[in-house]
Symmetry: C2
C-alpha cells in the first residue's frame, strides 16, 4: 500500500530496514523503559495515599466515563471483578468514589468520583501529563502522530475500537 515497490532485492531490502529484528528489539526495549517512566510519577504520588496502580486505573476511567458500571470497568481494565472490587471498596470507603444503585437495572452500580476523588485524579493525571507534555514537546508533532499510530497497532483491536469510541462520542 504505502510501500513503493522497487524491483529486485536491493530496493525491497532498503525499504524494509525498519522491520529488521534489531529494529524491533530496540522498539521492544524502548517500550519497556518508557512504560516504567510513564508510571513512575503517579506511583510516587500513590505511595502517599497507600494506593497502587490499580487504584489509579480505576480512578482514571471512572473520571473518564462518570456513571460507568462495574462491568464496563472490568471490560476496560481487563481484570477479574473480584480484583476490581477490592480496589473499588477501598476507594468507596475512603470517600473517593461514590457507588449508586442503577435506576433501570438495580443490579448495576453507577460509579462517580467525589470531590476528593477528582482531586486525586487531577494530581495523578497532571503528573503523568507533565512527563508526556515534555516528551511530546521534545519530539515534535510529527513524532507524536507516529507514536500514537504505532501504539494503536500494538494494542488489541478491541481496545482500539474502545479508544475510537471515546474520541468520537466524548
Amino acid at each position: 500500500m504505502q510501500d513503493r515497490h522497487f524491483p529486485g532485492q536491493a530496493g525491497k531490502g532498503e525499504n524494509l530496514l525498519f522491520l529488521t529484528d534489531d529494529q524491533l528489539r530496540r522498539g521492544i526495549e524502548a517500550m519497556f523503559f518508557a512504560y516504567r517512566g510513564f508510571t513512575a510519577d503517579p506511583d510516587r504520588i500513590l505511595e502517599n495515599y497507600a494506593y497502587g496502580r490499580a487504584h489509579h486505573r480505576a480512578i482514571h476511567f471512572i473520571n473518564r466515563s462518570p456513571g460507568t458500571t462495574v462491568n464496563n470497568l472490568l471490560d476496560i481494565l481487563g481484570v477479574t471483578k473480584q480484583s476490581l472490587n477490592r480496589v473499588l471498596r477501598t476507594l468507596i470507603e475512603d470517600g473517593l468514589v461514590e457507588s449508586r444503585i442503577g435506576t433501570r437495572d438495580k443490579r448495576e452500580r453507577n460509579l462517580y468520583l467525589t470531590e476528593k476523588g477528582r482531586a486525586l485524579e487531577h494530581e495523578l493525571s497532571e503528573a503523568q501529563r507533565a512527563r508526556m507534555r515534555a516528551a511530546y514537546r521534545a519530539a515534535g508533532p510529527e513524532a507524536v502522530e507516529g507514536f500514537r499510530k504505532v501504539l494503536e497497532q500494538i494494542m488489541d483491536p478491541r481496545m482500539r475500537r474502545f479508544l475510537d469510541s471515546l474520541s468520537d462520542g466524548g
Copy 2:
C-alpha cells in the same frame, strides 16, 4: 528550536494543538492499552512454564548482554536483589541460566543463557516481535521513527543513555 514561531495567538495555538490536555490523555490511554497488548503474547507463553514477566525480563537482558553480572541486571531491571534473586534461582535450577563465578572479581557472577534458555528466549521474543512487526508494518517507517522518538523522551534519561550505549557498542 524546531517550532516555527508565528506572531500572535492564532499561529501559536495552531502549532501547539498536539500539546492539549486532550491529546495528552489520548496518548496516556494509548500507552496503557498498548503495553497490555505488548505483554499479552509472552505472558501466554510464560504460563506454560509457570514463569512470569520477571523471568522474561531477566532472560531478555541476559541474552542481550551475555556474561552480565547480577548488579548490572539489578540496575537495568530496577528491582531489588531479593526479587531478582528469586527469579534467577528458579531459572538456574531449571537449567535455563548458568551462573559462573567471575574471573577478575570472584565475588561477581557472570550470567549466561543455556541452550534451553536461548530456546525460551527465542520463543518469547519471536512472539513479541511478531506483534511489533505487524504494528510497524501497518504504521509505516515514519510513524515508527516518531514512536521511538517519543518513547525515548518518556523514559528516564538514565535508561535512554543505557539504550544508546547498547546501540553504539553492541
